[in-house]
Symmetry: C2
Subunit: 182 residues, 2 copies
């Protein structure tokens, strides 16, 4: 296992912090790791009674463009993933959900980021008022599974949590023997 020799904090911001860590490998080779610390996040696969998927579209500065994603957001200090998912779903889309099921947690980028994303399935949607944050500009829409498959095949990549949500949905379609499923 590599050993830490020196740790330098490069940046501490409102969302991320960045450290450069000098390490020595078991072979004796010295190198450095650039590590981003992130508080963690949630993603929500929210389905209405028809089985359509609640999606949000927003501008992503990192991608220099708009992208459709499942609703998501980052964990606040001390917040449980489920509470975070419930809060973000309401804030971003104006929906509450009666039934929540944890699907999986995953590390989106273990090579440089500590982030973990917790994915939930939400059903039994109840329409309320969205509470957009001032730094968000969000459009919402329900996608049929076919719409989402088209999005997957378009030239614009999906994001990881949305791709995983789509995969879950495909399997659910298969499990339920839904012959209409693409």
């Amino acid at each position: 296992m590599e050993k830490k020799l020196k740790q330098s904090l490069i940046y501490k911001g409102k969302l991320l912090s960045l450290e450069v860590i000098e390490v020595v490998m078991p072979s004796g080779f010295r190198t450095s790791r650039e590590i981003v610390y992130h508080p963690g996040a949630v993603g929500i696969l929210a389905l209405n009674e028809e089985g359509h998927i609640l999606m949000v579209r927003q501008y992503r500065t990192a991608l220099q463009g708009y992208i459709w994603e499942i609703p998501a957001g980052k964990l606040e200090k001390g917040e449980s993933p489920l509470k975070c998912a419930q809060r973000e779903l309401l804030e971003e889309t104006g929906y509450e959900a009666k039934n929540w099921q944890f699907l999986l947690a995953f590390y989106p980028s273990p090579g440089y980021s500590s982030e973990v994303i917790h994915l939930f399935l939400a059903k039994g949607l109840i329409e309320k008022q969205p509470k957009f944050e001032a730094d968000e500009e969000i459009t919402i829409s329900f996608f049929s599974p076919q719409d989402l498959e088209k999005l997957l095949k378009s030239s614009q990549p999906l994001d990881g949590k949305t791709a995983l949500a789509l995969m879950f949905l495909r399997q659910q379609g298969v499990k339920q023997g839904n012959s209409n499923y693409p």
Copy 2:
């Protein structure tokens, strides 16, 4: 759409760079975005003749622990995703593959990172010599689909590319009508 007011380069390293970008929202609200730039990466779902999955285990500084993942690596300047996948598979595992198929590309963390990961399926494996880089300490193993399902259900999360690869595998199992599939 948000407009960029000011862009400050905080850090430029060997893998990542970090910018803080001041933006103004359509509402007039001003905020800042912390953005990580990454060259992009590949992941490889490599299957042997039995349908077992080639996995690599390594220490991930960002997670402060070891994790099993599908083979992966970052794009070099001007390198195509396929060339990168072929290079990384050989370097990390010592295998070449006769048949390559692109599966999908996805953004692991569009909220703050420009990274895109290109996922490939590799079959027809030929054993050669691995060429580990000096900063890598890698163990390789073939996992049965059942082993990988167990890993998914363990308390340690998978990483996103490995979870997506597992989902593809499940669907392939379903498509082929493989009744042994978990």
